[in-house]
C-alpha cells in the first residue's frame, strides 16, 4: 500500500515492514520549539484580549459571542498543535471528536430542556 493510500484510509491498516514504518514516521511530523513558542504567545495574547473584552462593557450578547469565539480559537489551537491532532492519525481525532460532540449534545439538550441559558 502506498503512503497516499495509507493516508486516504486514515491509517487504519497497520504499516508493515521497514519501508512502511519509515513512511508512518515521516507522516507524523510535529512542529519544533520555535513554532510552539509562537503558538504560546498567540494563546497568551488571546487570553489578554478576552480579559480586555470583559472590561469593555459590551452588550451582553455581543460579549458572549466574542468570548465564545476566542475561547474556541484557544481550544482548537491547543488541540491541533500542542496535542498534535493536526499532524497525528485521524483515528485519534475521531476518538476525541466523538466524545466532544457527545458532550456538546448533552450540554445543549440539558440547557434547552431544563431552561439554562448562556445569554
Amino acid at each position: 500500500m502506498t503512503l497516499a493510500e495509507y493516508r486516504r484510509r486514515g491509517g487504519v491498516e497497520a504499516p508493515r515492514g521497514e519501508e512502511q514504518g519509515a513512511e508512518a514516521a515521516h507522516a507524523e511530523r510535529h512542529p519544533g520549539p520555535l513554532e510552539y513558542a509562537q503558538i504560546g504567545l498567540i494563546l497568551a495574547l488571546i487570553t489578554g484580549v478576552e480579559v480586555a473584552i470583559y472590561y469593555l462593557g459590551l452588550a451582553h450578547t455581543l460579549l458572549v459571542i466574542a468570548l465564545l469565539v476566542l475561547s474556541a480559537t484557544k481550544f482548537s489551537m491547543v488541540v491541533l498543535w500542542f496535542m498534535h491532532l493536526k499532524f497525528d492519525n485521524r483515528l485519534f481525532s475521531t476518538m476525541f471528536i466523538l466524545g466532544f460532540i457527545l458532550a456538546l449534545s448533552v450540554f445543549t439538550v440539558a440547557l434547552a430542556t431544563v431552561g439554562g441559558k448562556l445569554v
Binding site: F75, M95, G99, F107
Partner: protein
Amino acid sequence: MAQAVGTAHLETSTGLDNRKLLMWLFLGSECLFFGSLIAAYLLYRDRSVAGPYPSDLFDIPFTSVSAFVLLMSSVSMVLALAAIQRGNVRGMQIWLFTTATLGLLFLSGQAFEFTEFNHEGLSLSTNLFGTTFFVLTGFHGAHVTIGVLILLSLFTVSLQGRIQQKDSLNVELAGLYWHFVDIVWIVIFTLVYLIQP
C-alpha cells in the same frame, strides 16, 4: 520548523500504539464528564435562593493570572516533549519541572480562591451556585493534581536515566493529559468566570 517523530512500525490491528489510542479514548470520555459538570453549573448558577452569587465573589484579574499560568504550563509541556523527541534529556527535565511548578502554582491559586470564597460564606452546601461551582472546579483541580503527580513521577524517573529518546511516548501521553486539563480550564474560564448571568 517541522520535526520528524520516529514511530516504529507497530504490529497492532490499527498500526498505532494502543497506549496512545487508549489515552485519546479516555480523553474523549472525559469530555463527556466535564461537559456534564459544566452544563449542570450553567443550569443552576442563577437559581440560588440565597447568596453569595457569582458576581459577589469572582475576582477576574486573579483568575486571569491563574488561567495564564495554566496556559503557559501547556507551552512548557509541549517543549518538554519536543526536547525528548530530539534526544535532549536535560531539556526535557527542565521543561517537565517547569510544567509541574506552574501546575502547583495554579493549584495554590485555586486553594486561595476556595478559601476566600469560604470566608465570604460560600460552601459546597450554601446554595446551588456553591454546589455546582465547587464540584466543577474541584474535579478540575483534582485532575490538575493527578497531572502534577504524573509530571513529578516522570521527572524523578528521568533523573534516574530511565527516560531516553526512544521512550518519548511516555512524555507524550503525560502531555496529552496535561493539555486536556488545560483546554478544560479554557472552557471553564470563559463559561464560568467571564460569562456571568
